[in-house]
Every structure is written in C-alpha cells, then in structure tokens.
C-alpha cells in the first residue's frame, strides 16, 4: 500500500515537474515561432489571421528581405567581426588571465583591480571622446578599428572569468612543464589553454552574442555600407519597412538564425565551463 502511494506521489511529482518545464519551454519558443510564422504571411492577413499555421505560406518575403535589406554583405561582415573579435578576445584575455593567475610581476594586483572596476563602470555616452580618439588614430571607419573596440568591450569579463578558472587549475602539469624548461608562453599554449577549454567555450558564446547583436558602436564608427554588420542593416531595414510587417519579420528571422546555430553548435561544451566559472564566487 505504502509503496503504491509513494509511487503515485512520485509519478504526480514527475508530471508536475515536466509540465512546469514544458510551459517554460513553450514561452521561450513561442515568440520565436510567432516571428517565423508571421514572416510567411502577407500584409493583408497578418493582423487578422490568428491561426498558428497560416493558411497561405509564401517564402517570398525572405527573398524580398534579403535583396532589399542588402543582407548579403552585412551577413559576411557580421561573421567576420564575430570570428575575429572572439578569437582576439580568447587569445588576449587568456594570456592576461594566465599571467594574473600564475605569474608574478610588479603591479599585478593594480592592473587586475582595474579590469575588475571596468566591469562595473559602464560607459554609455563615452562615444564622443571615443570617436574623436579613433579619428585621430586613423581607426575610424576601418574594420580593424571596430574590431579593436569590440575586443575591448568583452575583455574585462573574459579576463576575470578565465583568471578564476586558471586559479583552480592543478599545478602539477605546469610544474612538470617548467622543469622541462618550457618558456612561459609554451606553458600557456600547451598546458593552460587545453585545461581551461570549457571556460573558453563560455567566453566564445558570450562574446559572439555581444558582437553579433551590436549595432550602436558599428553605426558610430563605420561610414561605409560595405563595412556594416547585420544589426545596423536591420535598423535601416526596420525604418524603411516599418509598415511592411511580414517582410520585417523575415528580415528579423534572417538576423536571428545564424547566431542560434552557433549556439547550438557550442552548447555541448558550454556546461562544464560554466560549472567551474560559476563556483568561483
């Protein structure tokens, strides 16, 4: 008798938990799904037809959005920026984090606190001095200028995350390498990086998102259409197609899909990294 009751409770508990998770999952997916479904409709039906699957499906909107939005070059730029910036951040922050964690040099604490503080003090509106500086350095309206700027944006958080990860790294491998006479750089490359792979995956995801969804800095620093990333194209697209909802939705979907794929590809590795990064505290 007791076992049956116990089993019933267990089953009930299980059902409730599953229901809870399912509802949450639906609320996450629904807006995305709605956006996609709207992009398949046409202007006259989009507000009145409330069915989940529209009666008439047409993919024309995507073609229109692609051509009119000029998304081709924007997509290429976004991919370029994301890849280069994330690579840059990974290298630079892991070098610095390794040093903060494992090496000794004067001023170490000072610089680390600087990066810590940077994470907390935002710079909205620093755009005028930034722009003037970039122009003086000849970096305004260049790809490399925008890339360097974006590297800076993700730097503090990445350094801090990686440092704490390095802190937890076992020293035996490292000591062995040092005894073997490896230079510090070699140690970083052969020992440090592989051991911190999970954290690096987290940094990749986090910074890819930031770069992909960024548009404010891009609009400010870049003048040429050929250098613009996807989100800026989307802003212009929004303005010119504010009344053409289906095409707008198609454009939004185009802008959102690639990053979802990147995330899906990386998500397998991400969990471990977040574990250790989180247990830092």
């Amino acid at each position: 008798m007791k076992t049956n009751k116990y089993r019933m409770l267990q089953l009930l508990g299980s059902v409730i938990i599953h229901a809870f998770l399912m509802v949450a999952a639906i609320t996450c997916l629904f807006p995305l799904f709605w956006m996609f479904r709207s992009s398949l409709m046409s202007l006259d039906t989009i507000f009145t037809d409330k069915s989940i699957i529209p009666a008439v499906i047409n993919f024309n909107n995507y073609v229109t959005a692609w051509i009119e939005g000029g998304f081709g070059i924007y997509l290429w730029n976004s991919i370029l920026y994301t890849v280069v910036v994330v690579t840059g951040i990974v290298i630079i922050s892991s070098l610095a984090a390794f040093a903060f964690s494992r090496l000794e040099f004067p001023g170490k604490n000072f610089f680390f606190i600087m990066f810590l503080a940077a994470m907390m003090i935002p710079l909205p509106g620093g755009f005028v001095p930034l722009y003037v500086l970039m122009t003086k350095l000849g970096l305004a309206n260049t790809r490399i200028g925008y890339i360097l700027c974006m590297i800076n944006v993700g730097l503090s958080m990445s350094i801090i995350l990686l440092k704490t990860f390095f802190d937890k790294m076992p020293t035996d491998l490292e000591d062995a390498a040092r005894i073997d006479g490896c230079s510090k750089l070699r140690i970083w490359w052969h020992v440090g990086l592989p051991l911190t792979k999970p954290a690096i995956v987290v940094i990749i995801i986090f910074n890819s998102l930031n770069v992909w969804n960024e548009y404010i800095l891009a609009q400010l620093l870049l003048n040429e259409n050929s250098l613009m990333p996807l989100q800026t194209g989307l802003m212009k697209f929004q303005g010119s197609h504010s009344v053409d909802y289906p095409v707008l939705m198609a454009g939004l979907t185009i802008a959102a899909v690639p990053i979802i794929f990147v995330f899906l590809a990386m998500q397998k590795h991400s969990l471990k990294g977040i574990i250790t990064g989180a247990t830092v505290g």
């Binding site: 938990i17 709605w34 909205p124 509106g125 800076n152 247990t279 505290g281």
Partner: protein, 307 residues
C-alpha cells in the same frame, strides 16, 4: 655585489618583464578604449557643454549638485532598480526552480538546456519588437490585434485586458517581465551547472540523517550553491541596471516618466537636451552606485560563506 647576485637580479627583472608582457595586449587595448574615454568623461562631468561648441564651460561640481535634486534621475534609478528586483526575484527564482527540476536524470535535459537559452541569444531589438506586438493594445473591427489581449478575450477574461504598454501601472512591470524572460536562460544554465557539481554523497548523508526534501534543500543545496548564487546575483544586478535597448525598442519615447532608466536618461541628456556635461555627471555617479552595490553584495556573500 657578487656576480651571482647581479645575475639573479637581472634574471628576476627579465622574468618580471616577460610575465608583464602577457598582459600588455590587454592593457594596451584597455587603456586606449576604456581609460582614455573614461578620463574624458570624468573631465566632462565638470563642464557644461552642448556637444557642438568648440569650447566647454567649466562649472565645477554644479552638475552633481543639480543631479541630487533631479527627480527624473532618481525616478530612473528606481525604475532600473525595479527591473533589477524583478530580475533578482522572479527571473532567478524561476531559473533556480527550472534548474532544480532539471537536475535529475531527465531525458529531455539537453532539449531544455537549448530551449531555455534561446531568449538570451536573440538581440534586444528583436525581442522588443516581438513582445511589443504580443502586448499591443488596440482593435481592428472589434478584434484584438495584440496576442495577449486576443487570448484573454477568447478565454473570457476580458476584465484583464489592458493597455499593457501604455498604462503607467503596467508598462514597467511588462518591461521587467520581458527582461526577465530574456535573461533567465543565463541564470538557468549557471544554476544547473552549479547544482550538478554538488556531490551526491552529501545528499545521501543528509537522507541518512533523516532530512526530508526541505531539509536537503536548506542544508545541502543552498550552502553549496552560495558562491554560484553570489555570482549570478552580481551579474544580474549589473546587467539589469544597465539595460536600455529593450526599453527603447518597446516604448520609443513614450511614458518616459514611468519607464526611463539611467542609461536612457544619459542618452537623452546627450542627444536630446544636448547637455553632455550633465550626462557625464550622471554616468559617473551611476558607475559609483554600481560599484557600491557590487561591493555590498560581495561583502554579504562572504559573510554568508563563513556561516
């Protein structure tokens, strides 16, 4: 000095130098793109400037004094605080509950991990647009256009139908909820990861001691999760206080008195009223407030760890 000592000193110097070189790229980029604008902002906060004139007018701490009396500024801080509070409670509790629910040998665990992380992946512009449509209030030939109102109408809960984004009482809560919707994925993943590192044996030991579900939660789970919770709390606070793209995307300039946040105030002061000095003063004080909050959280969590 003996030869050995000299050699030691020079190799120590050499050692330090190569170590230092590791942080050089980061420091260089940081100095150029952060330190320099930051110093400029600090300087600007002591001036009155419209962004166009080639000369700025020095006013000392006048901007800061004015800031103290600026009701709109404090209002915006309160709004950001409200969003943060909702994020800390609703968003993180939800994330924790979901992570807790997922923290067992669940078949669909991977599916949930992916799905819950989709909102954070979307850009705020997209999220704002979609939710504005869902929360749209208005009718076309007696039929509701916004999905929420339409849904409420269909299930005969008409008295709940509202001007969601135009009603000052509901506008900010709606924004806070959408913000939480977008953000809980991060919390979920971090909590799940943290939960999974807790040694199962601790749970076994607690069961042996006669602890029920509640006992296990308070004696094993929560204490072990304190560091994770602390990190999530700090990141949530920093992220929510600085949110603004979502608000611009959902509200335009409407109801600014009820939905403004510090960053929108700063941008308004710059681009709208053209008072760069004042905006920089706002920026500096905002930064200080954030630092104070972060440090307080850290201190509290350190104290908790000792318990």
């Amino acid at each position: 000095m003996s030869n050995a000592l000299v050699k030691q000193k020079s190799s120590l110097f050499h050692d330090n130098l190569t170590s230092f070189l590791f942080i050089v790229p980061a420091v260089m980029i940081f100095s150029v793109f952060y330190i320099y604008p930051f110093c400029d902002i600090f300087k600007l906060s002591l001036h009155e400037w419209n962004g166009i004139d080639l000369q700025k007018q020095f006013v000392g701490f006048d901007n800061f004094f004015e800031l103290i009396n600026d009701n709109d500024w404090w209002g915006s801080l309160w709004h950001a605080g409200f969003i943060t509070l909702v994020a800390l409670t609703f968003q993180n509790l939800l994330a924790f509950a979901l992570a807790f629910a997922c923290d067992r040998e669940l078949k669909m665990k991977n599916f949930y991990r992916v799905v819950f992380f989709i909102p954070p992946v979307l850009s705020e512009v997209v999220v704002g647009l979609i939710w504005t449509w869902i929360l749209y209030s208005g009718t076309q030939s007696a039929e509701h256009i916004g999905l929420l109102n339409y849904f409420l109408d269909k299930i005969h809960l008409q008295h709940l139908i509202n001007n969601w984004l135009s009603n000052p009482k509901t506008a900010l809560p709606c924004i806070a909820i959408v913000h939480s919707w977008k953000g809980f994925g991060w919390g979920f993943i971090m909590f799940l990861a943290g939960l999974q590192t807790i040694d199962r044996q601790l749970y076994e030991a607690a069961k042996v001691d006669g602890a029920g579900y509640w006992g296990m939660l308070t004696n094993v789970t929560l204490p072990m999760m304190t560091p994770v919770i602390c990190v999530v709390v700090i990141l949530t606070i920093l992220g929510s206080m600085q949110a603004f793209v979502l608000i611009i995307s959902m509200m335009g300039n409407g109801l600014a008195d009820y939905t403004s946040v510090p960053v929108t105030q700063i941008l308004d002061a710059m681009v709208g009223s053209k008072r760069f000095g004042y905006a920089c003063a706002q920026g500096v004080s905002f930064g200080l407030i954030l630092i104070m909050i972060s440090f307080s959280v850290k201190i509290v969590s350190d104290k908790l760890k000792k318990i």
